[in-house]
């Protein structure tokens, strides 16, 4: 992979992580932790509250990211770096993280 392609992936992952954090963080870190500890999917809960238009938009954006080689795992890593408060949720529970990624992929295939 060329230097330009890697830079573009890095940039897009950073931007996606920042955008999704801006959308989800107003819910409060405690609420997110509670959801994670109870085993409920943050992503699925968030998506359930979105309109069809918003769902379609998110699906398009995530598909575009995957098309450029930016995986969901990369976006989550960037999100953890940008918002260290969610680090315990993502790193202490690898199964939970894995489940979240699977849910996102399933959402894309809907």
């Amino acid at each position: 992979m060329s230097f330009m392609a890697r830079s573009a992936q890095h940039f897009m992952a950073e931007k996606a992580a920042r955008q999704y954090l801006e959308e989800i963080m107003p819910a409060g870190i405690e609420n997110l932790k509670t959801l994670a500890e109870s085993g409920r999917s943050i992503f699925a809960t968030y998506i359930s509250g979105c309109s069809e238009e918003k769902k379609r938009q998110m699906r398009e954006e995530l598909a575009a990211l995957l098309k450029f080689g930016v995986t969901i795992d990369m976006v989550l890593e960037k999100a953890v770096r940008q918002q260290p408060e969610i680090k315990p949720i993502m790193e202490s529970m690898p199964e939970y993280r894995k489940t979240e990624i699977e849910r996102i992929m399933a959402f894309l295939k809907e």
Binding site: E23, E37, G39, T45, C50, P88, S92, Y96
Partner: protein, 479 residues
Amino acid sequence: MGTINDALKALAGEQELISTADLAKKSGSTEDTLRKQLSTLKTRGYVDGNSKEGWIITPAGRESLERQEKIPVTAKDVGADTESKLKYYGQLATVTPDIILATVELIMSGDPEDLEHVWRCMSEMDVPIQARRRWFNLWRNYLKQGIPPQLKDKVTGPTEGAAEDEAGEVTATAKDKGRDYIIVDDLPVFVGPGAGDYTLKDAKDLLQIRAIRSRFVGTPGGGGGQAWNIKDLSDLIDKINEKRGDGAAAKVYAFEETEQGTVLKEVTPGTPLNLNRSGGKKDQPMLIIDADGVVQEMKPGLHVGAKPASGNPPPQKITLVRQTDKGMVKEEYPAGEVIILNNPALAGGGQSMLPFPVFDSEGKPVLDSSGRPVYANLEPTLRWLSFQGEQKRADERQSMLGGLVKTVRENIPDAIAAIKAAADEARKETKGTGALAGQPQGYKCGNCGTIFAIPNVDFEKVICPTCKREYTKAEVQAA
């Protein structure tokens, strides 16, 4: 330490540019010393180049070496005798070696301390004037003598453009330099160096001034200038009168010859004009232009009564047609009277009318019983249409804003609210199972003591967020 001759010899062995550092090694002198030596050699034209690009010997330098000429630098090189000193100063003054040899030979045939003799010898050997002056002044200072009075003009005279005759007299001066042009038929013509009357710039300036002067005064021979005569002025006045139109009264003008030249005077209608030609030329006729633009010759001393303009008389009345509630009204006002048009609509009065002729289905205008066309007032209709348009736009804007608000409400608040609701529900469930509210169901790390949450989903291992130690499901369940 290498001498300047060593530097030149070192350069002679090089066919290409050589740097100062390499040359310093080759000539056996330091770089600083070599730079000074190279600068001196460059001044004399023996080397070319610079410190950046490198140095190379010139043909003159090679020739100098071939002649085994030793360039004098030190007192030892220069020599204590008069001849050596004279040669040395000649070289410093950048006189060519052959001329130096010939001139010194000539000077030494007489008294070298006689400055007049020295100058004459230099002139006879055709030493260039600038180099000659340098050489002469160097030699004069060496002898500690002043400039002889009879040589003062020659030694301190102008340098540029100076020429000499056979006797060594400076004939041309700097004043003549550049005066190479004369003016022929309003054009600068080159006639040779110093043979003309003007420099090119002076000639151009002079021609420009002549052109401007002839444009206003006129040239007797008509040499390119645009002269104004009486006929041109009368044509101009005619054109001005044409532009004014029929309503304006045409004026009568007369030209009077005075000491200051031709003066144009306006003739007031009904006022006699005394044609005084005391300052004018006797042989020129007196002319007058009447209101019809006809130029006539007048005799001096006569009274001329200019009749008033016979153009179309100005209108005496103004007819005004306007639309009122009673229909079209025609009104007449005296000319010059101020007419104020009162617009009731603007004044906040009754409704103004927008008249529009009514046509039947065949396209013919509809006439009333008296045969006059019928007009429809479209003002209320247009207002109603305008109101409807504004209302429609306002509705669309409101609808768009409502949709935007709905979209915003549908997206972010609902999604965030969903997370908060789900979190509250999870807390209630946890509370129902007996856990303390706000206290996570966690596992204490045996390594660092951190209490971290255990997911409610199936898992194989958990990692301590602090020390990264991994715990299997069996270990956690056993705790």
